[in-house]
Amino acid sequence: MTARIDRHAESSARGYVWSVAMVAATTVVALGVRAYFGLPDVEMLFLFTVMVAATRYGRGPSLMTAALSVASYDFFFVRPFLTFVVEDVRYTLTFAMMFGIGWVTSTLTTRLRREQAEADEAVLRAKTEELRSSLLSAVSHDLRTPLAAITGAATTLRDDEGLSPATRLELLETVCDEAERLERLLANLLDMTRLQAGRVTLKRDWIPLVEVVGGALGRVEQRLAPERVTMSIPDDLPFVPIDPVLMEQLFVNLFENAAKYTPPGSNVEVRATRTDDRVVVEVADRGTGIPAGDEERVFERFTRGSHVGVPGVGLGLPIARAIARAHDGDLTVAPRPGGGACFRLVIPLAADGPAPDRGAEPS
């Protein structure tokens, strides 16, 4: 709030300074052309200056420009010269006109600006609303799908007595799987909401990267078999200043993405390297890759690869990127030489990042 007032005061002060400068310049120009043009032209010149000031700097500076213009006009161009005495009543009308134009123009400009600002805000509101409704429809669709499966399976189990044991088991599996899917979706939505609202405070600590990557692999091993993953994380990689919970989520999302969009059994490679002030982690797969030009689109919410029958809502990668950015890092994707996609995560190491001490050996 204070900052805004300051900026406002500063811009208004600059307006006054410019007003003085413009009147001075106009006076010089008017004095120069006085010999060739008539007095009405000089009046016009000052009027023009007042209008410019009014459109650019608002009411205060425009009124001051009007006052200074009147003074200058009176002093240099109205008999008797070089005094503020006015002989002819006619000139008071000129002065009144200058003030009037300054007032009207600045009022109009201010109103126009306000209306413009309101229109901009309305557009922004409409966009937010549109996003919200697209989010709602995507979410309600994706919530209903597993719910429909659960309801269908559960009511069949309740109402249908002639089911074979195998069918019953199958339906029960459906209930469990779909409930799990619902849970993941909800967790994703919550994460996204928290990250978007900027309400996430990172609980950073010095963490060995391998712990976070290993934890993530453990969480996805049902969907991404451990033997598919090759890891090369150098032993001497420094600890990274990260929020372990969020960063593990980032890797879970990347691995789930790989599991969904790559052929079963294909290799996924995790490679970490250190440059001076950052750690770069690449997660490379041998899937179909990202279509050229879509490298940014995959990080937009509710964007999904064109694969029929792959479950998900398109929140995994946006969440992963939001997490990377919350760490002042970034997550991007590029084609992998030889086919597939290569996700690249950059984590800055703080300038004062020491290798953490090991803690005194207890006695």
């Binding site: 963490i207 712990e211 934890g215 890891m231 372990p244």
Partner: protein, 234 residues
């Protein structure tokens, strides 16, 4: 099952959850005592002397964490928190308040039974006065008398800190220990804020006891909470 299965106090105000727990635990021979509030829970805990408490954190007349602290004033009964609060700080708070384990809703019944088994076994071990001098988990064997650690029969050499951490985790096998709890036990009460000390030594420890330290099977991380040594019967 026998009629004298363990008494479990379920503190949960949600009727559907209670129904599910009653069905599942009942069929495994547990005897259930049900409380729907902190007040009832304290009454039933004193009158029935349960062998295990399943505790929901959000209760109509108070908080489960407060109840955990109250119970811990006079009983060492294993407490497993079951809560829809899934944030790591909630877990840490509950564990540091004295809960033995934490299950986030929704959870599967297999997971619940696994945690209950671990908690009961652990209680039996410490309750009977721990005279075990040999701790064995999977391939890992710790000879407490000789301060020797073997992995698949091969002796490994640990630093004093690594040994202390490993023994601590092994004594509580199956249970999550928070960073704070580990720091307090290994380094002493003053050093409970330097969680990265634990991480440094756990990383070293893993290199010595895990086949693939990047994918630990034994010493697993509970992100944002702490570490757990997998129980042999998990």
């Amino acid at each position: 099952m026998t009629e004298l299965g363990p008494v479990v106090l379920v503190v949960e105000d949600e009727p559907q959850m209670r129904k599910f727990l009653r069905a599942s635990l009942g069929s495994h021979g547990f005897r259930l005592v049900e409380a729907g509030s902190v007040h009832e829970a304290i009454q039933l805990a004193t009158s029935h002397n349960p062998e295990l408490v399943l505790l929901d954190l959000t209760l109509p007349d108070g908080d489960g964490i407060g109840l955990t602290r109250t119970l811990r004033e006079w009983t060492a009964v294993p407490i497993i928190v079951i809560s829809a609060r899934g944030r790591e700080e909630d877990k840490v708070e509950a564990l540091d308040a004295g809960a033995d384990d934490y299950l986030t809703k929704p959870f599967g019944v297999r997971e619940l039974h696994a945690r209950i088994r671990v908690a009961l076994r652990h209680a039996a071990r410490t309750g009977g006065g721990t005279n075990e001098s040999l701790l064995e988990i999977d391939d890992l064997a710790i000879d407490l008398a000789r301060r020797e650690v073997r992995v698949a029969g091969k002796e490994v050499h640990l630093t004093p800190i690594e040994y202390k951490i490993l023994v601590l985790l092994a004594r509580h096998a199956g249970k999550v220990l928070t960073h704070r709890a580990i720091l307090k036990e290994v380094w002493g009460a003053q050093q409970t804020h330097q969680a990265h000390h634990v991480r440094v030594h756990v990383a070293e420890l893993r290199k010595k006891i895990e086949a693939d330290p990047a994918r630990p099977r034994l010493l697993v991380t509970e992100p944002g909470v702490g570490y757990r040594l997998r129980d042999r019967q998990e």
